[in-house]
Amino acid sequence: MTLGPGTEVEAALESAASTRRSGRGAVRWLSTRLAGLLFVLWAAATLTFFAIRLIPGDPAQAILGGPGSQASAAALAQARAEYGLDQPLILQYLGQLGRYVTGDFGTSYSLHESVVQAIGQQLGGTLVLAVASLAVAWVLALAVAVFSVRAGRAAWAVGNGLEIVSAAVPHFWLATVLILLFSSTLGWLPAINVPGPVGLVLPVVTLAVPLAGFLGQVMRESLLNALHSPFVLSARARGESEVGVLVRHALRHAALPAISLSGWAFGSLVSGAVVVETIFARPGIGRTLLRAVQERDVPLVSGIVLVVALAYCLVTVASEVLDRVADPRLAESPR
């Protein structure tokens, strides 16, 4: 699920800008980011731990196969003792933090395997999906941006309209339409996860189109700004061709805000993956999360939340690193 054009994107850009502003030396920057990352992970773990305790229902019951189970009182008590659920909350919390530090995320109630193992199995699928979608969204957004900036006013309006509409499309609706069209009616593409890249097409398009709508709006604006900036005029005055202007100057500037948005985009892709993985029957974190939440699988939910938070932080840091590569101004100390 993604947020519509504007707010969320702006918020993400703002956050990127706030880290940008503190342009510092690489080492100090990295250590600050790492400390921030640890803090976010700790806070995410804490928040999740207490939030999940608010969920109605007995975790011991979830352990023994959900509320429909006919577990005996003895079995429930045994499960409580086994999972430390009979201890005071604060001890449970500290114990959990301690186990996280040692890399022990516990055992999933519903999957009957270690959370690390379960997430390990599912993470790959989601990552492939997210990365592919991000790449496709980038390409789409860039294509529309270049087209609408280069091809006159009508194209501008068309590009603008395309972006706004695609950003307003709910994932599950788009997925349904795509399946109906390309799978059911035309039979060109599989509706489900089949081996090879062909099975990735529809889910990736489903995730990429709304995202491209957001990215496109940002890219188009910065592309236009770049094309109207004095340094492009300078480049043209040097005899640079239109293609050269785009490739050597404008695109790089257009890419900057989109790079900054990657962290946010990743978050929205994970949200979207919950829906898309369910519809296209793909294995992955999103679908696992939905299931874990529905089955009150506390260790699995906590584990996934932490992994997603970690991934989000890593992607954010990576996008900042990329940002600094693309825009070396960020890496240098202000004079």
């Binding site: 947020l3 519509g4 806070a43 603008n160 609706w173 978050g267 929205s268 939340v305």
Partner: protein, 272 residues
């Protein structure tokens, strides 16, 4: 973008304004736009394709889809507006703390926002719904909660930007006390942005809420709510496309129209 605001999109703007007006009419007086009863079932007239009698066809219980779409505008927009309002109010509270409070408060709030940002929105919403149970209220609150960090961030940055603006400094020089500046200048100036955020946010929240409905966590049946209609109609996509198409269309149209309007107002507010 002067170019964006000129010529071409003016037509689009008119269209969007009409869409929004129509939606508002539907929300305020659905009975005037579609006099029928959105809940009236006619089991034997189910799955009728669009016709003159039923512009958008009928659904599985023989209810008129057009009537339901019209009557659904109220709840759907209400979800959007309420969720956005919750998000904005929370966002303004957090953003004001961070933007105007002492530095340590800004630091703390900013870190909190960072953490909340690390939770993808749907995850926040899911957790909330699991704790408080599904339904129209919880999903509205959930969407509001999930969007609040974003709003808070924008409000904070706006507050900081306005607080540091030359005209606020000019007010200091004129001897205006802090509370006066906040009430008379900072808040009204941030409000402009907030209004834009609300317009943009409503469309987004509708899309959000519809996704929750798809996951079975939204409005309760048989409420005519777009997301729920879409989610129910999706099952019959192979035999009754109109059940999916029309609610989807109004969701996309309303979100897009709200966006266009919001952007236009944004352009005005920024005063370029």
């Amino acid at each position: 973008m002067r170019r964006a605001a000129s010529a071409g999109p003016r037509v689009a703007l008119v269209v969007c304004a009409l869409v929004v007006l129509w939606l508002l009419a539907c929300a305020v007086a659905p009975g005037l736009v579609a006099p029928g009863d959105p809940l009236a079932i006619h089991p034997l007239q189910g799955f009728e394709p669009p016709s003159l009698a039923h512009w958008f066809g009928t659904d599985e219980s023989g209810r008129d889809v057009f009537t339901r779409v019209v009557h659904g505008a109220g709840p759907s927009l209400l979800i959007g507006v309420a969720a956005t309002a919750i998000g904005i109010v929370l966002g303004v509270a957090l953003g004001t703390l961070a933007g105007l409070g002492p530095r340590w408060l800004d630091f703390g709030t900013s870190r909190l926002l960072e953490v909340l940002f690390a939770f993808p929105g749907l995850l926040l919403a899911l957790l909330f719904i699991v704790i408080y149970g599904p339904g129209i209220t919880t999903s509205t609150v959930a969407v509001g909660l999930a969007t609040a960090p974003g709003y808070a961030r924008i409000v904070r940055s706006q507050m900081l930007a306005v607080r540091g603006a030359p005209y606020i400094e000019a007010e200091v020089v004129l001897g205006r006390p802090p509370l006066w500046r906040f009430r008379r200048s900072i808040l009204p100036n941030v409000a402009g942005t907030l209004f834009v955020l609300v317009t943009l946010g409503v469309g987004q929240s509708i899309v959000w809420a519809s996704s929750l409905s798809y996951l079975g966590l939204g409005a309760k049946p048989p409420t005519a709510e777009w997301g729920a209609m879409l989610s129910a109609g999706r099952t019959y996509i192979d035999s009754a496309w109109w059940l999916t198409f029309f609610p989807g269309l109004v969701i996309v149209a309303s979100a897009a129209a709200a966006t266009v309007l919001g952007r236009t107002i944004q352009g005005r507010v920024r005063g370029s």
